[in-house]
Symmetry: C2
Subunit: 295 residues, 2 copies
């Protein structure tokens, strides 16, 4: 059952996603595609048994799905509510400019979005051996669509750079959300994990600070998780480097926030140390985004 | 013939390499292991036919080896001299503190070292499907051993960082060659390619500049090649981003040199533009290393 009718429908929904992002990340069609992707991911995973992983992460319990040939990435049981109805309830609240206070909360948003993202990534792990690109691309567009809805602006992926000697050049960037004149712009790298590449988040921020001036862009990366699953031992650990992140925040650039769907406990304390680096569950963004833009 | 007696001997030589680096990169045993790795790589590759690739790189001609199931990475024919005798002749010159002027030249060193490195990497491509780690680890130690011989100092991989509030922490780094008090130290990341991760070279340099002061460490990364081989189309291209490198050199940190074994033509002009970024074949390092340390 490596690839079946459900698998094909999942791949089709992914192709639809890639096509629709050309029309911006905030269309009604986009919401429908994201819903389809979730439904097809759950249908696909339902065909396989789930297995308990040996969690090396204090306070977190992980499972994976098993297709007999390999297992999927780890799924945090405490965050996982594979229930389409909860997404539909949340989705109904996400009308343009809606104020979510009192209607839902950050923990619920984090749980629902985590369940959607990890379902798709786990399904692709089983459907396509060793494919890292599909989950990465999906996750970028998935998160960008929520961000675009919340700030009411579509993202861009490159920016004009002034050059004295040569023609002006376009610098490819992670997602940029330009809230308009005199407002800080969001610089939002979106990755399924950082591992030993985390320094790139700060380096890209430094580049924007250098070209456009400090604080013109606000760095707010969004990450899925830092889990590493060993498919032979069937255990899962989190790879976290808080001391290195502290040095990056001190010596390379300042990130305003780092958001996670499956937040590693090791990064919580960074917000209380110097230099402050506030790492939070992504659900909180939906309630603090306009405070962020006010400095 | 996916794995045979020659393949096993190649894997054993690689295990010997990883064991020997614990005794420093400059031992006589290390030279013998590097020689064995080359001999076993050539013996292994001799069991497979070579195929012509469709080169998309102007002025360069590439082949690959084909084991019937997959092809190896691309090999630049203009640099490839798979001849153990040439390495033995070069190796005989590399006595402690030797002056190489008039005895060999930069182009010869680049060719011999390229042939050794690409032979091992191509052999592993065929021996182990999708293994990027083995070629990467090999290449690091391979280059570090020549560097250690040339500067007469063994490398370290971490450095003590002063912290005001907490205990001092060790920062893991790429290879650092400390030439002693009042001398600049070499900061040498060694990678088989950079692709979209090149910004990490500048970010790590920025971190060292920030912690220890500008110019205390001299950034001199060594890279194998920037080729990307498409195994289905059997073509090869180089992925180069000179305009982005220019921005990194302007806004993140200054690298003193970038060395390549298979030097991309697209990076040559960076040495003549502002800010100067000198990208050279690695063989030239052997003749300019002491001039570099004099600023």
């Amino acid at each position: 059952m490596a690839k079946n009718k459900v698998g094909t429908k999942l791949e089709q929904a992914y192709e639809d996603l890639k096509a629709e992002v050309r029309n911006g990340h905030d269309s009604a069609a986009m919401t429908q595609i994201i819903t389809d992707l979730y439904a097809e991911s759950l249908a696909y995973l339902a065909g396989f048994k789930s297995v308990q992983l040996d969690s090396k992460v204090a306070g977190k319990n992980y499972i994976a799905h098993d297709n007999g040939k390999r297992i999927s990435r780890a799924i945090n049981v405490g965050l996982y509510v594979p229930d389409l109805a909860q997404w539909k309830a949340l989705s109904a609240l996400l009308t343009p400019g809606a104020n979510l206070n009192g209607k839902t909360d950050a923990a619920t948003i984090t749980r629902v979005l985590y369940s959607m993202a990890i379902s798709f990534c786990a399904a692709i792990d089983l459907l396509k051996n060793g494919d890292q690109k599909t989950p990465g691309t999906y996750f970028e567009h998935f998160i960008a669509s929520f961000f675009a809805w919340r700030v009411g602006v579509r993202p861009t992926n490159s920016i004009q750079v002034l050059s004295l000697d040569e023609e002006n050049t376009k610098l490819p960037t992670d997602f940029i959300f330009d809230l308009g004149k005199n407002a800080q712009k969001f610089h939002m790298p979106i990755k399924t994990s950082t591992r030993e590449r985390a320094i790139m988040l700060w380096a890209h921020q430094r580049l924007l600070d250098g070209v456009f001036g400090t604080d013109r862009f606000m760095g707010t990366p969004v990450l899925l998780a830092e889990t590493k699953t060993d498919s032979k031992k069937r255990d899962v650990m989190e790879i976290c480097l808080p001391e290195q992140w502290r040095l990056y925040q001190l010596y390379i650039a300042k990130l305003k926030r780092v958001y996670y769907l499956d937040m590693p406990a090791a990064y919580e304390k960074l917000g209380r140390n110097f230099p402050p680096l506030v790492v939070k569950p992504f659900g909180e963004f939906f309630f603090e985004w306009d405070a962020l833009t006010q400095g």
